[in-house]
């Protein structure tokens, strides 16, 4: 990794304790720098704190201790509304269970990614169609989620994460509910995104998948071990 690349996410001794009883320390004093254009995988067994870590990086969860800086901004100074807008504009989330809205078509689901940016509906749908084309679903625009395969649903979810052109893509076990072929396809899409300059962070418990990423962070009991 070239040293001139700038650090875009900086975790400084962050911890997360879930209030008990008994209190559980899910993440224990983690410090980590992620640079622009990094391709990072976080591995660990279930309960190792990897989802909690990702949620804190993605500003979905607050830290109990420590600071997070994203693009030089100390996020502890942001209000809840500002955090929402930050997520909406800078971070694209991909979830294991896709989390598509069942009553909306693929195109409408993707367009939802721009809903809270103050963009008009036609423009949202137009951009959604474009991103769906990029993930190879140009012929699935009007399909409902239930009419799509798991792999296709995850690609719709990726398109939703990408439609607002985020700087960061955070994926929580994106291949967890998919067969090997679909999983490999999703992995390839994530690597391609990284090549286009996006910073990608993915959680997985599949070591084979993890090894394909440039940087691997291994968690055990809320601590980084490698």
């Amino acid at each position: 990794m070239k040293s001139k690349t700038k650090t875009v996410i900086s975790l400084n001794n962050i911890s997360k304790v879930y209030k008990g009883p008994p209190p559980v320390k899910a993440v224990d004093k983690i410090s980590l720098d992620i640079k622009e254009g990094d391709l990072v995988s976080i591995v660990g067994q279930s309960g190792s704190g990897k989802s909690t870590l990702l949620n804190m990086i993605g500003l979905l969860d607050s830290t109990t201790e420590g600071d997070i800086e994203i693009e030089g901004q100390d996020i502890s100074t942001l209000s809840d509304d500002e955090l929402s807008k930050f997520r909406g504009e800078k971070i694209g989330f991909i979830f294991q269970s896709f989390f598509l809205l069942p009553g909306l078509t693929a195109q409408e689901n993707v367009a939802e990614g721009l809903l809270y940016q103050g963009i008009k509906r036609e423009e949202r749908l137009k951009r959604a169609a474009k991103v769906l084309e990029e993930v190879g679903l140009v012929d699935r625009l009007t399909h409902l989620p239930k009419e799509l395969s798991g792999g296709e649903q995850q690609r719709v979810a990726i398109a939703r994460a990408l439609v607002q052109n985020p700087a960061f893509v955070l994926a929580d076990e994106p291949t967890g509910n998919l067969d090997k072929k679909s999983g490999d396809n999703i992995l390839k899409i994530l690597k391609d995104l990284n090549k286009q300059g996006k910073t990608v962070i993915m959680i997985t418990h599949n070591l084979d998948h993890a090894k394909k990423f440039k940087k691997v962070v291994k968690l055990v009991d809320g601590k980084i071990v490698a």
Partner: protein, 393 residues
């Protein structure tokens, strides 16, 4: 921070929430629908009734006064003093006066019916002017005028006619009064404000005297007065009729009875309105309940929306608007249903159809308000769900 979610988009999002659970939305809004329908129907029917009553009063006139002796302590009727008609006629604003004499003559359809089955029909001896003074109309035949009072003929009140099974005078029909046959020469229309006359048969004074030896001793007098002085006439009527014991004369305005009936209906209306409000309250609670369930079920959706940039406020508005929509749909259906019920009722009872627009608007506003109130708690609950918690696997 400025809200970026456009109003029209917020509306679409809320509509999506309602549309995605159509069956449940329908069931949930039924409560509000019933409540609003009850309120609209009740106000519609009572407004229609009022409109109809005004029309009736208009046609009957409110300047009719009725006076009769106060019922005695044991239910016996006191007599009015002799020459009472003349005394009443001398009151300035009095325009018309007439009298009737109540008898206990028994009325039967034929002599096959025993004398003990009178059927609550009374025989009233009347002067020819009665029909004009009380503003009555004949549905068949003619009234006892022009000397017909001297011969055994009779006119039936509307209720009497139907009790005796007489609907037409195409064929000559006779009835028995005591043991004398009387030819029926007329049937009256319903006299809305004189139910006692509807249940009577009328005969003339002449024949009453010759056959039954009944003297012209009025038991009830009917007075039409100049409408401008009606209160004054009411005041002086009793002392004029019986200067020594004015308290033995009972004076009333039949139109008052209608108004009293209307007042009683208002009380009943209020009761129904109360029941409608209870339905609304229950409907509101049902909406709140369903919305809370909905919030719990849709954590995923809330989590996704928060992750793509929704603020708490935007989530709150979404659920609040959804609740208002649910209630609004119920309210709209309720208004249509209530208007339909009112229309059906007015058609059925043949009265004027009238629905106060202001009350309809009020009902819809009320439904929206209930939706808003019911949605407050669920909406706050939705907005307080932590995004990380909502997207947990």
């Amino acid at each position: 921070m400025k809200q970026k979610l456009k109003i029209v988009d917020l509306f679409m999002v809320a509509l999506y929430g309602v549309k995605a659970r159509r069956g449940r939305a329908t069931l949930t809004s039924i409560g509000i629908g019933i409540g609003i329908a009850a309120i609209v129907a009740v106000t519609g029917i009572s407004a229609s009734g009022r409109a109809d009553l005004l029309a009736t009063l208009e046609s009957l006139g409110t300047n009719l006064i009725k006076a009769s002796p106060q019922a005695g302590f044991f239910g016996t009727q006191e007599k009015l003093p002799d020459g009472v008609l003349g005394m009443v006629e001398r009151i300035g604003p009095v325009q018309e006066v007439t009298s009737t004499t109540q008898t206990d003559l028994l009325v039967r359809r034929t002599d096959f019916i025993s004398e003990f089955e009178g059927g609550g029909i009374s025989t009233v001896v009347t002067s020819p002017e009665l029909l004009d003074v009380v503003g009555g109309n004949l549905s068949e035949g003619r009234f006892i005028k022009n000397g017909l009072g001297e011969i055994p003929v009779t006119v039936l009140g509307s209720v009497t006619a139907s009790r005796l099974g007489i609907t037409s005078l195409a064929e000559p029909i006779r009835i028995l009064i005591e043991n004398e046959w009387f030819g029926v020469i007329g049937i009256l229309d319903e006299l809305k404000i004189h139910p006692d006359l509807d249940r009577s048969v009328f005969i003339g004074y002449g024949v009453a005297k010759t056959l039954f030896n009944i003297d012209e001793e009025p038991t009830t007098i009917y007075v039409r007065s100049n409408p401008a002085y009606i209160e004054d006439v009411v005041e002086v009527l009793a002392p004029s009729m019986n200067p020594e014991n004015p308290d033995q004369v009972s004076v009333s305005r039949p139109s008052d009875a209608l108004e009293a009936q209307e007042a009683a209906e208002v009380a009943f209306t209020n009761l129904l309105l109360g029941l409608g409000s209870v339905a609304l309250l229950v409907g509101g609670v049902a909406i709140a309940n369903v919305m809370i369930m909905s919030v719990l079920e849709r954590r995923m959706e809330i989590g996704v929306r928060r992750s793509i940039g929704a603020t708490r406020k935007e989530i709150r508005y979404q659920f609040l608007l959804e609740s208002i929509l649910l209630s609004g749909v119920g309210g709209l259906v309720g208004v249509l249903l209530g208007a339909g019920i009112t229309l059906g009722y007015t058609k059925y009872t043949n009265i004027v159809f009238s629905i106060p627009l202001l009350q309809v608007l009020g009902a819809i506003l009320l439904a929206l308000l209930i939706g808003a109130l019911s949605g407050v708690y669920p909406a706050i609950k939705a907005s307080k769900i932590q995004p990380a918690e909502a997207v947990r696997k």
